[in-house]
């Protein structure tokens, strides 16, 4: 396999795995309008939970489910701090992110890296083991694609249910949710649980791909996830046939591709996080400029 194909595969693999997180952050940031910083803590939480389960001999599928549940619980805490204790959204996220650092260390019994090489993961057992031997180069990307597709389908289905519609209304017009006799705060907590569940699941998948859980893997995740969401929805937003869930996964892939190109052009690794921040800023500002230009009175001229 030549270098270019390898690079492309690598971008796709990582883009799809981080795409799972991007879909979760799409729920909190875009649907609920909640800038959730706890993502930096829930991503490694998913990795650490997965490490602990697999090291203890658990099945990798149980590890994925456990990661989602733990992530969702952490999301509930963020929501609880914000909705019930009236702490601002940013601060609630920072508090949970900070607290999770210790939680993650407890889960990994104090070590920063929890390796589980040669143990069964979703990449080498179950359906993945059935792939023909010739496809081994594509094994990771196929499993990542399947995981992202599964999350996408489930999220799209959820957003069409009664609860899903109410969640969208809660982000769009909380007063409308009140008028329906429902508590918008509860919907916010639910949305944060789903978003952080997906983030932890992405952390779990990444850990299984690399064969170890790394407590430092969360740094910069907020920026990466938000950038994916914003890049995805602004580049692909005009394509009416694409669901937002697909757009943000594509956004994650584009984002990863930008980073990979910069690395190939010889950018030192130390500058990676700086580049991530710059890319995010560019995405944010250009998105605002594009939508500003597009802004036309969104009103039907046929007055009653």
């Amino acid at each position: 396999m030549d270098i270019l194909t390898g690079l492309l595969l690598n971008v796709l693999e990582e883009g799809l795995i981080y795409g799972v997180m991007a879909m979760g952050v799409y729920i909190t940031y875009q649907v609920l309008d909640f800038p959730d910083l706890s993502v930096d803590g829930t991503f490694p939480l998913g990795a650490c939970v997965t490490g602990a389960v697999i090291v203890a001999g658990g099945s990798p599928w149980v590890a994925c489910a456990a990661a989602f549940v733990f992530g969702a619980l952490a999301g509930c805490v963020t929501g609880f701090l914000h909705v019930r204790l009236k702490i601002t959204d940013l601060l609630s996220g920072i508090l949970v992110m900070t607290g999770l650092w210790s939680v993650n260390l407890v889960i990994t019994s104090g070590s920063a890296v929890l390796p589980f090489y040669n143990q069964p993961t979703i990449f080498n057992s179950g359906p993945a083991a059935l792939l023909p031997a010739g496809a081994s180069d594509f094994q990771v990307v196929l499993v990542a694609l399947a995981a992202a597709a599964l999350v996408k389908i489930l999220l799209d289905l959820y957003l069409k249910t009664k609860s899903g519609l109410l969640l969208r209304a809660a982000g769009n017009n909380p007063q409308y949710v009140i008028s329906l006799g429902q508590d918008p705060g509860r919907m916010k907590i639910l949305g944060l649980a789903i978003g952080n569940g997906c983030t932890a699941l992405a952390g779990s998948i990444l850990a299984q791909q690399s064969g170890s859980a790394n407590i430092y893997s969360g740094t910069g995740m907020v920026v990466m996830a938000l950038a994916s969401v914003i890049i995805g929805t602004s580049i692909f937003g005009r394509l009416r046939f694409l669901k937002p869930t697909v757009m943000v996964v594509l956004g994650a892939i584009v984002y990863k591709a930008c980073l990979a190109i910069a690395m190939q052009l010889g950018l030192p690794t130390n500058f990676l996080k700086l580049l991530m921040a710059v890319l995010f800023t560019v995405a944010l500002v250009s998105n605002r400029m594009i939508s500003g230009r597009r802004k036309h009175p969104h009103v039907n001229p046929t007055q009653i």
Partner: protein, 266 residues
């Protein structure tokens, strides 16, 4: 409460005190010992100058503002310890801002499906019940705005008048004990507000809704409703129901309005 509930009373506001910013220089006593009874099926229109307490009265009933003391009963239920969203199960509210009564990103169909489900559990079943679509269409046809052909349009792309008519329809979709209209025609152009008012009258009469409508439009307050309240500094200065209301005209209201404005020194 010592006073027994009159059987035909729907809303009972009793001995309410409300002071805004009590500990500061800008302390403002709005209500002191304010009481109001509204009987079942009555359509009350409320007029009054800015700061007269009309919107605060609505907020007190809906629960977005808490009284300092006093009780508010709705159909015999004490509302004091219910949160705003809990009260909303019995109360429908249409706001001045057409954006508040609907969800702009969702389509007309999704908005109606949500409203149709008010009061039940929002679970994991399909959000839009396809078998109800024809019913929604029939209801939209009553608005005569052609919205029945635009079910899949996001509500955010409708005009203010269209949104407000839809908000009114949505607020009255499920059975209500009280309909609250908070200057719901104030943000609309004259023709749209006439249309929305006619729709209001039709819906209120058809469904025999107990209604509390705050308006800045003296003409509307004369023409619609079977009881008229004029409020000033947290008191009712005019309270005319049925025949006495029918005898009122705009000039009477304007006269009283000028009188209280003079008293207030402006």
């Amino acid at each position: 409460m010592s006073t027994p509930l009159k059987s035909d009373s729907m809303v009972s506001v009793r001995h309410i005190d409300k002071t805004f910013s009590p500990d500061s220089v800008s302390k403002m006593v709005l209500f002191s010992d304010f009481s109001l009874e509204i009987r079942k099926g009555q359509f009350v229109s409320v007029v009054g100058s800015n700061g007269s307490g009309k919107t605060t009265l609505l907020n007190l009933i809906c629960g977005s503002v808490a009284p300092d003391c006093g009780v508010i009963l709705l159909n015999g239920k004490n509302l004091n310890h219910m949160k705003e969203f809990q009260r909303a199960k019995y109360i429908g509210r249409v706001f001045q801002d057409p954006a508040k009564g609907t969800c702009p990103e969702l389509t007309i169909l999704e908005n109606m499906a949500l409203a149709d489900h008010k009061g039940s559990f929002f679970g994991l079943t399909s959000g839009v019940n396809k078998r109800r679509i024809d019913r929604y269409r029939t209801q939209l046809e009553l608005l005569k705005l052609g919205l029945e052909d635009k079910l899949d349009l996001p509500v955010g792309s409708l005009s203010g008048g269209q949104r407000q008519a839809l908000a009114l329809l949505i607020a009255t979709m499920t059975p209500l004990e009280l309909l609250i209209l908070d200057e719901h025609t104030a943000a609309l152009d004259p023709r749209s507000s006439e249309n929305v008012m006619e729709l209001t009258e039709r819906l209120v009469r058809e469904k025999k809704l107990t209604t509390l409508m705050v308006t800045h439009n003296l003409k509307f307050s004369i023409r619609y409703g079977d009881r008229l309240l004029m409020m000033h500094q947290g008191r009712c200065v005019i309270d005319a129901a049925d025949e006495r209301k029918a005898a009122l005209d705009t000039n009477d209201l304007l006269g009283k309005f000028n009188e209280i404005s003079l008293e207030a020194g402006n």
